[in-house]
């Protein structure tokens, strides 16, 4: 790792001012767990990092709102994991975090970093996307709302401008919806996923009224599988229907090959795990 300058502004506004829309060597840093990997590998050599560690405390807090949760972007994944409010409103998040990386990483990694990195292998983005979460994004021109679904532009790419910051996430409560996330690893148990599948459903085994199915890791970005969703809606959920849903997902997704698996293999994982995730959601995943 080579030397760089570190700024520690005390407000989000100030942090935005320190960013430069045209200079990729100036970057915000949350927990630094993703950036450091790139810096150690020499893929990213920053001139200046803008740490968000000292910005207003409110961006590190979680609050229950009438219809869900407001989560500050600087909230650590460990705080999210342990929050009673999160467990109550969106237990899928709590369950997901248990197998996300390891406690050392979760203690410092932030919600904003997990989203803004645009890394398709992360577990939180597909879950937030399936839950229909939205973001408050702040930039020099003020704030805008952005659905997590619209955040990702490609492999390690987001639609954020270089001088925009994620300020907070808003997660609707599960309510009567049923949800599951399945992380499929092909290396060690705490490896990054080869495939992540998040499913949020309304209805029951007699018939699904609405569905959001999101795949990640095997794909170049977290992606909603709309033909699989369509295949699921309406009919009685049995083996035949689930097989159709799995096949639709397998055909629809676009895959990337890497050390965690070939394209052909990931397609088969998709076929199986979309099915399993729907069933897990209906059966009430623990």
């Amino acid at each position: 790792m080579t030397p760089f300058e570190l700024a520690e502004p005390t407000s989000l506004k100030e942090a935005i001012k320190l960013l430069d829309p045209d200079d990729p060597t100036i970057r915000p840093v949350g927990g630094g767990t993703a950036l450091m990997l790139m810096m150690k590998a020499g893929v990213f050599k920053p001139v200046k990092l803008i740490s968000l560690r000292r910005i207003e405390n409110s961006y590190s807090t979680i609050a229950a709102t009438g219809d869900g949760l407001r989560i500050g972007a600087m909230t650590t994944l460990a705080a999210l994991e342990r929050s009673a409010d999160v467990k109550k409103a969106a237990p899928l998040i709590t369950r997901t975090l248990k197998t996300l990386s390891n406690i050392r990483v979760r203690n410092v990694a932030t919600v904003g970093g997990a989203l803004a990195h645009g890394d398709p292998h992360m577990d939180l983005p597909p879950v937030l996307m399936a839950l229909g979460a939205t973001l408050t994004v702040m930039g020099p021109k003020g704030e805008r709302k952005l659905a997590v679904e619209d955040l990702f532009a490609g492999y390690y790419e987001t639609v954020l401008d270089k001088d925009e910051l994620i300020a907070e996430a808003h997660v609707p409560a599960h309510g009567t919806k049923k949800a599951a996330y399945m992380k499929v690893t092909t290396g060690s148990a705490d490896d990054w996923p080869a495939l992540g599948v998040a499913v949020v459903l309304e209805g029951d085994a007699g018939g699904i009224k609405s569905a959001r199915i999101v795949a990640s890791a095997a794909t170049d970005k977290a992606t909603r599988l709309k033909s699989a969703e369509a295949a699921l809606i309406g009919g009685k959920v049995d083996d035949t229907l689930l097989a159709k849903v799995g096949d639709a997902a397998a055909d629809e997704a676009e895959y990337i090959a890497d050390v965690r698996g070939s394209i052909s293999y990931k397609r088969e994982l998709m076929r199986v795990y979309v099915r399993r995730a729907v069933r897990a959601a209906l059966e009430g995943a623990k």
């Binding site: 790792m1 080579t2 030397p3 990997l37 150690k40 590998a41 020499g42 390891n102 499929v184 092909t186 290396g187 060690s188 148990a189 705490d190 490896d191 990054w192 090959a257 050390v259 698996g261 070939s262 394209i263 052909s264 293999y265 088969e268 994982l269 199986v272 795990y273």
Partner: protein
Amino acid sequence: MATTTQDAAKVGAQVGRSVQRLESREKVTGRAEYTHTMRLPNMLHAKMFRSTVAHGRIKSIDTSAAKKVPGVLHVITIDDVMKVIPNPYYGPAFHDQPILAHEKVRFVGEPVAVVLAADPHVAEEAAQLITAEYEELPPVFDEVDALTSKVYVHDELKPAGTFADLKHLKDAKNTNMALDYRLRKGDVDKAFAGAAHVFEHEFKTQKVLHLSFEPHATIADYRDTGVTLYTASQGPSFVRTEIARLLGWPENKVRIKVPFLGSGYGSKLYIKLEALALALSMIARRPVKVALTFEEMFYQITKHPCTFRIKSGLDKDGRIVARKCEVFWNGGAYADIGPRVTQKSGLTATGPYEIDNVSIDSYALYTNVTPAGALRGFGVPQLVWAYEGHTDMIARALKMDPVAFRRKNLLREGRPHATGTILKDAATEKVLDKLVERMNWSQPFDNGSGTVKRGRGLGIAIKAVITPTTSVAIVNVSGDGSVTLYCGTSDMGQGSDTAMAQMVGEVLNIPTESVRVTPRDTDVTPYDMGTLGSRSLFHMGHAVQRAAEHARDQLKALAREVGEPENSNTPIRELFVKRYGMQAGNVIGTGVFKPDYVPPAPGTGLSDNVTAFWMISGAGAEVEVDTETGHVKVTRLVNVLDIGKAINPQVVESQISGAASMQIGFTMFEKMHLDGGQVTNASLADYKIPGFHDIPPMENITVDTYQSNGPFGAKGVGEVATFCVSPAIANAIDDAVGVRLMELPLNPETVFRAIRAKAGQPLGDE
């Protein structure tokens, strides 16, 4: 805390006690010293610029931009090194490795130039500004190709002549073969011709990393009067010899200090960064630290990938009458200890079976990848992977129970091993019996239904300890009666300091906890071959026992001399006071151990005393295979071992579970992915080792044995539990889903592809 340990510290019966590790308090409170965190005043840091091509002639190296970086003191290439060390080649078996790339580069990641700066980040930044031009040469990567390839990694081979057992190596040209070990017994061709069944299979293992928790690190402090190296080494004595040779100095001007190691597993054996650190300190005339990052370890040393062609002939009753083994070891660009791995493991390639007609060829081969060396098992896990898979496949083909087939062919106590050495203190039968009992093998097994299938499998293995090797120890009793042990065994987490102290305590009848074991320092600790191949407890243990007995005998003489009655319990301090008129003097006990050995006869490889002791282990696995995805869950792992008498049962237990866990990683998913010689997953983000969730429920059992020529009946345990894990799991997968995997790792995609291929629906290559 201190009082409870004292309470536990009973006098007598030190051997066999689960003494808490002597250094554990220092380690968990962060006080223990490691080379990686050590700093010397005025010290410089080195950062390397590494080759990006697998094989090429160096046309030019441009260091100009690096030199301009503020804070950079030196940018060094081999030309600078040769001004201080004219012949800059080192290595244990061959003097084939240049301190920095010389004329050629031979693997991606080979160090080509080094930047020195007081600030390691400055050095790193500057190293990234170095460029080199190469005339690329065709590379050779595969070990089987390397045998016949016209691409030669080295123009000429230069044997080092260090080891008694490698004295026969000769200079050679136009070959990639560093060593060809042969064993010939009986008449294999004739036996195959008369065999009722012949089976031939080829097994492969992948390239994996030791991944010691503390990366390699060395600090050299060179003065005209002498040089001191602080280094994370498993073999300080060898480092001293090699550094003295490079300098043309007597060994007494070279001092090697080794604090605790954050593990080694064979990666820190012989000589690694020490030669480079020495050269850099000579040039800078300041202490220089060379410390690798985790990522750089992928370019230092790895385990040998291996291709093993194994062929067996059987008579109509299922007795193996002939076995032919051809083993190709992918040694990478520099021989390191590969030739010794090739020979020492090669001799057990036929496994723990009694076979009258045997032919073994074991080849150490140079290739254009990161060098390979010893890794927890010294080559034996690669062999067992093949011969225990082969054994199961034969049993299946003959419709014999795999246990009954093994029993029929088992090499038993008192019978001759393929080398001609009679098997002694090698509990093959007991191990197999215990394993079968614990696995409830005679009971029917539920193979599962639906999409999850269950299976069970086992394996049994033999290893010969590397022989001959020497250990020397000193036990010093001070005037106050306190006792210090000087021994060169590197405690890298295996608990050797504690075990050695237990042996001293046993002989001198004092609590283990009162014995101090000095940190390794070649100025004071005597010679030892190295902490390798499960040899230390046996060899150094003997030396320690002898040194303690020598001290005890002198104390007895001292007592007689000062007029104490036989067996009086006068404190030792009072003996010294009586003898010297005050608290003064020492008693120094010394012990040396080198086992008897008969070198393998040239041509046949036969010897009637090829090893100081045998290691025997077995493993059994039960698995669940998800047939829809290929995921394998090991639901039970039983390890059964013959380790002689346990000096410290708790340390034995952790060695067994540690070794088996490590092998779980090598079995299930660890793999260095290579593309054109470039490691594509050279970081911990993409190269995963097992975490707690990957460790199956394990049962570790040692059978009741006593090593008759061992210190207190003991022998080595560090590697033994690695041997059978891989084939036991592959055999269990075959039992579950009827597919046979011939190459490690057994990752889900590999298993899934095999399942689909068997069903006649092979998965596409996309």
